[in-house]
């Protein structure tokens, strides 16, 4: 199994009047062919910036400070706009977070999908591209697709827009797909169908997908691998089973415990208290320390390294240091064990 995408020690910052925003810090990730890696983490922790920096779709104020990006064995770290334009739409495609900002408001949706089809296949005729676009719309579950293909984005419901953006991304048969919260506006029955469609595409075309989502139910359904991100860094990485059944980082514990399933019959949900740190001057030690009930003294002083737990599983927390006190995971046994 080969890695279609390899990110090594990537750091990305924005220059702002207030200072340097360190949005992505020392991130290393490998995305094997035919697998779905789910990227989860606190709002603002750098998930979208990470995807956009691989696609080189960042504003000018952004800079790749260090690290490297390999796509299908080729180092693209220093690729300029011209080289990237060739890769986008063939090698890479991205489903962006805000459908409204991706769709052209003054162009019928069907034409926008047909355009994506033509980027991939220049020789296809206009009528065939349109027919293919309608097929794509049907594939992602838009009813009355032929009629709707001639309509504009504002004629669509939120979920239909989101599915159109997905159709655009899939139309070009990318090898690596970035899907940034592609199902947030869908009802659960359609969501399940779309997720199964993702897995099917995965299996037949061996696409590698980086799937950004907040919905842990979605992660449970689509992901093979999971990366948990906090304040610009990856704090835990493992298979979907590792993360759900044997999570090790206190932030991962906090996320899982915030699910409504952990608060059945209670008045309030378990939000993680406090706020993530500013990325302008991130703290010296573990960025999660001040919100972490299990924090050790060293957490405030020194960034923990990635500790290896198994072949597939690693986490950046000092709790995994052999010298650390033993802490029982609060997740142990699932949401209903402790009551």
């Amino acid at each position: 199994m080969s890695n279609l995408l390899e990110i090594n020690d990537l750091s990305v910052s924005f220059d702002t009047p207030e200072g340097e925003v360190q949005a992505v810090r020392d991130v290393s990730l490998s995305l094997p062919e035919g697998k779905v890696l789910a990227l989860v983490g606190e709002s603002g922790c750098g998930k979208s910036v990470l995807c956009r920096s691989v696609m080189k779709l960042l504003p000018r104020t952004a800079k790749i400070k260090s690290g490297s990006i390999m796509a299908d064995g080729v180092d693209i770290t220093n690729y300029g706009e011209r080289d990237m334009r060739k890769l986008r739409g063939r090698m890479f495609a991205m489903v962006f977070q805000d459908p409204m900002t991706t769709l052209n408001p003054v162009m019928p949706v069907g034409d926008q999908i047909a355009e994506a089809v033509r980027v991939h296949n220049r020789r296809i005729s206009r009528t065939d591209a349109h027919r293919r676009a309608v097929e794509m719309m049907e594939l992602v579950g838009i009813e009355r697709a032929e009629e709707r293909s001639r309509l504009y984005p504002y004629n669509f419901s939120g979920g239909m827009r989101q599915r159109s953006v997905m159709a655009i991304a899939l139309a070009s048969n990318p090898r690596i797909l970035f899907a940034d919260e592609p199902t947030t506006a869908l009802d659960v029955t359609i969501q399940a169908q779309i997720l199964d469609l993702f897995r099917e595409i995965q299996a037949t075309l061996h696409t590698a997908t980086l799937f950004v989502t907040h919905d842990l139910g979605v992660v449970a359904r689509v992901a093979d691998l999971v990366a948990v991100m906090y304040a610009g860094r990856i704090v835990e990485l493992g298979t979907v089973e590792d993360i759900f059944y044997d999570p090790r980082h206190p932030y991962t514990w906090g996320l899982l415990q915030a699910l409504p399933a952990w608060s059945r019959g209670r008045d309030m949900l378990n939000a993680i208290p406090g706020m993530p740190p500013s990325l302008i001057h991130p703290p010296r030690g573990d960025a999660f320390a001040c919100r972490n009930p299990y924090a050790l003294g060293i957490d405030y002083l020194e960034q923990p390294p990635m500790f290896r737990i198994s072949e597939t599983h690693s986490a950046a927390t000092w709790l995994l240091d052999p010298a650390a006190p033993k802490v029982q995971s609060p997740i142990h046994g699932g949401p209903h064990a402790e009551q």
Binding site: F14, E18, V40, E42, S43, G44, K47, S48, P59, Q97, D98, M100, E147, L151, N155, S157, G158, G159, M160, R161, R163, E181, T184, A185, D187, V188, T189, I190, Q191, A192, Q193, H214, D215, L216, G217, V218, V219, A220, R221, A223, V240, E241, F244, G254, L255, L256, A258, L259, P260, A261, S263, M268, L269, N270, A271, I272, M275, S278, I280, G334
Partner: protein, 297 residues
């Protein structure tokens, strides 16, 4: 179903004309009411008309049939008194679906938040204003540092929270929240849901809460309405609906609720709901205390 006088949605219908020949019936005879201080959830198929209901309740869209009465005021009436207009604007706030991208990209967050206050001449004192802005940002878990940022410099979830803060700043009585938390991580979702509960319990806010996350709806809402293909098909107190759903669509929806547990989630088949091609006469039928279902006759 219409035993409350606070918000009454009466036989609401809406048809979008796309071309001369094609039309979409986005809403078909939808009726329900919201009690003062209640959190009513609205769930359902994508494209079933939830956002259209929200827009009609806010008076942004004039329905082609039926009406919405807010606290005795017909929202779409041709003539309203000045006083009624001011009340409608101040007392109702909407958090739009995908509202992050609706923020003016040229304005700083400070101006975005200040604008509605300026319009209504609220909180003019500078220090008090500053305190109010910071307090509302804190409610939604944002650092005061974002005040000087522009929307483009914020993440998707940060922008969404700016919209929530803007709606709350006006201290409205009714909040129409169209998918307000879908783009937030679970911990911040929990924080916002806790905040909504607090606002309801302590300050008597009323919510129309539109969402796809059925677990959150179950946790937050007092009653839930289910929509499919432009119709409200079931309406019941939350516990009742989740424990004994009656309409086939509600059953399919609840059965598809994702489980955050990979082994269980992957091993289950998700039922697909096919709406009947032709509907015969349908009628609202009471099947339990405060529990109504749209049934074929």
């Amino acid at each position: 179903m219409l035993n409350s006088d606070y918000v009454r949605v009466e036989h609401l219908s809406h048809r979008f004309h796309l071309t001369r020949k094609i039309a979409i019936d986005a809403l078909k005879d939808v009726s329900f009411a919201i009690d003062r201080g209640e959190i009513l959830g609205l769930v359902g198929e994508s494209g079933s008309g939830k956002s259209t209901v929200a827009r009609c309740v806010m008076g942004i869209l004039k329905p082609t049939g039926g009406r919405v009465i807010y606290d005795g005021i017909d929202v779409n009436a041709a003539k309203l008194s000045r006083d009624e207009n001011v009340r409608l604007q101040k007392e109702r706030q909407i958090i739009f679906q995908d509202s992050g991208s609706a923020l003016n990209p040229r304005m700083s967050v400070r101006r975005i938040l200040s604008e509605p206050l300026d319009i209504h001449g609220l909180s003019r004192d500078r220090e008090a204003r500053e305190k109010l802005l910071i307090q509302n940002l804190d409610f939604v878990g944002l650092d005061p540092g974002v005040l000087e940022s522009r929307p483009g410099e914020l993440s998707g979830g940060q922008r969404q929270r700016v919209s929530i803060a803007r709606a709350l700043l006006m201290k409205p009585k009714l909040i129409v929240a169209d998918e307000p938390i879908a783009s937030l991580d679970v911990s911040i979702q929990a924080q916002i849901v806790n905040l909504f509960k607090h606002l309801q319990a302590e300050h008597g806010f009323t919510f129309l809460f539109i969402a796809h996350d059925l677990a959150m709806v179950e946790f937050l809402c007092d009653r839930v309405g289910v929509m499919s293909k432009g119709r409200l098909v079931e309406l019941a107190p939350t516990r009742q609906l989740y424990d004994s759903p009656q309409h086939p669509y509600t059953k399919a929806l609840l059965a598809a609720m994702p489980i955050p547990d990979p082994r269980r989630e992957r091993s289950r088949e998700i039922p697909v709901y096919h709406a009947p091609e032709y509907v015969t006469r349908q009628e609202w039928t009471r099947v339990g205390f405060d529990h109504y279902v749209l049934m074929e006759r």
